[in-house]
Amino acid sequence: MTLSEVVAISGEAGNFRVTVKEHPRYVDVNKCIACGDCTAACPKQVDSEYDAATGRRKAIYVKYAQAVPLKYQIDADSCIRLKKPGACGFCERVCTAGAIDFDDTVKQHQVEVGAVVLAPGFEAFDPSTAGVWGYGRYPNVITSLQFERYLSASGPTEGHLIRPSDGREITKVAFLQCVGSRDENKCGNGYCSSVCCMYAIKEAVMAKDHVPGLRTSIFMMDMRTHGKDFDRYYQRAKEESGVRFVRCRVHGVEPEGDSGDLRIHYINEQGRQVEEYFDLVVLSVGLQIPGHVKKLSEIAGVKLTSDNFAATSDFTPVSTSKEGIFTCGAFAGPKDIPQSVLEGSAAAAAVADCLAPARGELAREKAYPEEREVGGEDPRIGIFVCHCGSNIAGVVDVEAVADYAQSLPGVVHVERNLFSCAQDTQDQMVQTIRDKGLNRVVVAACTPRTHEPLFRETLKSAGLNEYLVEMANIRNQNSWVHADDKKMATAKAKDLVRMGAAKVARQISLQPISVPITQKGLVVGGGIAGMTAALNLADQGFEVHLVEKTSGLGGNARYLGHTWSGEAIGDRARRMVDKVAGNENINLHTGFEVTTAEGFVGNFRTTIATRDGLTKTIEHGVGVVAIGGKALRPREYGYDRIPSVVTALEFDRLFKLKEQHALGAKSVVFIQCVGSREEGRMYCSKVCCTHSVQSAIELKQEDPGRMVYILYRDMRTYGQREALFKKARELGIIFINYDLHGKPVVSENGKQVTVEVWDHVLHRPLQIDADMVVLATAIVANPDAEKLNRLYKLSVDGDGFFQEAHAKLRPVDFATDGMFVAGLAHYPKPVEESVAQALAASARAATLLSRSQVSLDAVKAEPNLEYCDGCALCIDVCPYHAITLVEGSAGGGAPAEKKYISVNKAQCKGCGLCQGTCPKRGVAVQGFTMEQISAQIEAALAV
């Protein structure tokens, strides 16, 4: 439902009634074929929202080239015709599909649902509201989103970095951080937006790639690169790309005469006031909740925090204050893409927990006619040549191609379509396949990457096996790249069609493989993440085995006090332990370790054992790995040698127990980044800044006379945690910045400890006499990760943490199907992020467990036992470990007692490396057999 907004929600969890208002598109989506003729004819231009006003769009437009649905829309606010009936109307005249409907109206829909997920997102802060940055006044001051569009090949300048004022290539650019974040005076947004530091570094690095010699400076207060692999990126930007970082907040931008250049005043690290000129200034704008989302939260009746984000508990990070209504993404606090994707999955898990009894009740499976057997028939090939509007037909003589196709062997039908992918054309194709008795199809159009699934559907709907279609890519690989030579492009299109026909004639029907799924889950690790995943899967109705190496559940939560928002971790963890123990779907195995594992998605078999050698075997369809991490044992700052130098966790315990030493301390120094962000461990442990600030606040509140110092490198109280940092400063806690090359020095001094550090504000060394020194130690990976890596073929990064399948889009999946990761085992993170990730892992696991079998693509390697001599060369090259060597009789007439290969179809991805490696034609990928490929090559050469 696009162009739609929620205007009312009534009812309660399990039975909501939602009123959705659908705004008119003025274009019939069933008729629009997205040819673009309307846009070409439209005389009205306005700023493009997609290009953040760096480019223009027409009044009738498509949001962006790859938009889904790819349907045009008319913007009623700028359309000449809609404002003045009778005027203009060019689009209607040129639309051959007859899709324009100026009489379209608002529609109201009533939808009844069991749960609602709010994922309305954020808006970028608008810096024109505060005049100091000159945004909206000086053309060369732009926002980071606008800079992103300038960098993009699909942007207004196709990736060329030029100044908006005069079109000159840029040579020197400044990025100003925290515009609209960490600033209550100019924008009222006190929180940190969490993502701007990283995107500014990325934009600076990318810009330097675009313009060799470009000078880039990032002006910041703290570099908050706290995510996985972010600190390494920061280091590379500094050392390899030469991005300059200046630790200073800039409070204004001034123009330099009418040259278009901009002047910035700042204080450099030596404490001097400096004036510098730039030809472009990029404002790193923060994220905020738009007005329409505040309205939505009122409609939904969910509470917001003082920063206007959805209020959630750290233990239920995707549940709003209203039962049955969930949140994910930036609505519940500023966050980056992986965290948003992960929360999307987590919200799915929370919904599923709430609605589990009704799973599958309303879901519909598409029905297809029975498949016609075509094995005994001679090929009757149909060829569909697509114009793709003018995309293909504007270059290739499609009529000549169609005439030529008629002459190819086996071809009984040829037709041309304006858009083969349009819904009405699809329906017509189904009819043609039936009427003409076609048994093979070639679609000469675009790329199979995006459109093959669609045409496979078409064949299925026509009662043909879906693999009997071949695409000839006469657009991406032809008309787009040979636009300057129409004659040759037409000749190449004929070649491609001939090759496609030759290949498809030799294609046989393939049946998708289905693998049964053991509908049980295994969770390794009984900390917060493991327990959360196990409980969610169990509450969704699945049987779960929870394996914990130690004798008790709880993991690191047993040593932690509060989450950043002040929720007691111990109590919640204990309640969770009770819930796990009392859940009849959870089989708990404490004191057990995973020792061996075999199998693949849907069908794993894991053996676990105690220290005494007691073993159990578990059959499971999916696995969640949540083996946690540990606090580093420090080797610096006199730890182990000086009794009053302790780690943060040790200090928490001493303070909680009201131990004399901790309670009586009149001067306490916290040292940050102990073991983090340095050679050998170049990552941020993410939780320590917030932890130290919280402890410092507690110390100061208990005794305001106590001196509390925090020595830090970058204060990373990201997101809404920034409020803690502010509070700490207000309470008089002293923050002193140090850098990696000037680490503090700790020495014993009688009963006290002296901490010496260089003060960047005073520009002299500072000596602090402390009663206690608290070391904020790094979180390190669990060494067991290596073992699980070997057993399940997972991957582990250089720091020992598990590597997810894709940093952005698959943040909880492993590359090995059916295995998922959550919690500290993936990367250091606070409780609420561990919980969200565990829920996400559970949701991802449930997409498999909710079915009794998983259907896999039929394009798989198939051994030919007549030729395979068991040389095993293919085994080494198979990246998916899908091939094994078998000894014995292969059966089916094969000689007894020989070696041959066997392919596990569930693990095979059909990549074809085995086929390319095999010297004997002993293995072939279905749909890409040697016979087919040879026929294609012969057809290519037969001119």
């Binding site: 696009t2 162009l3 739609s4 907004e5 929620v6 309660e12 399990g14 039975n15 909501f16 959705v20 997609y50 953040a52 498509v62 962006y64 790859q66 938009a67 889904v68 009844e112 649902v113 069991g114 609602v116 997920v117 709010l118 994922a119 997102g121 992103e148 960098l151 993009s152 090949a153 990736g159 995107y199 990325k202 990318m206 995510g227 996985k228 692999d229 972010f230 990126y233 329409h292 994910c328 993404g329 930036a330 609505f331 948003s340 999307g344 799915a348 898990a349 919904v351 599923a352 609605l355 009894p357 009704a358 799973r359 309303l362 879901a363 519909r364 940093a807 952005k808 949701a843 909710s850």
Partner: protein, 60 residues
């Protein structure tokens, strides 16, 4: 007691990266999903980005 008359279906408000992920996971687990998007196409803010950190992958 949960009233389950319509409990097999879910509405997701917002078609950005997080809403799409929630929609996909729920649909794949056997729920009927209504995805409501304010603008003319799904994709959200990520579709406006050129590259993404820290891998410099294209964001499309």
């Amino acid at each position: 007691m949960l009233d389950t008359r319509n409990a097999g279906s879910v509405m997701i408000v917002g078609g950005g990266i997080t809403g799409m992920q929630a929609a996909l996971d729920l649909a794949d687990s056997g729920y009927y999903v209504y995805l409501v998007e304010r603008s003319g196409a799904i994709g959200g803010a990520m579709a406006q980005l050129d590259k993404t950190f820290p891998t410099n992958d294209c964001s499309m």
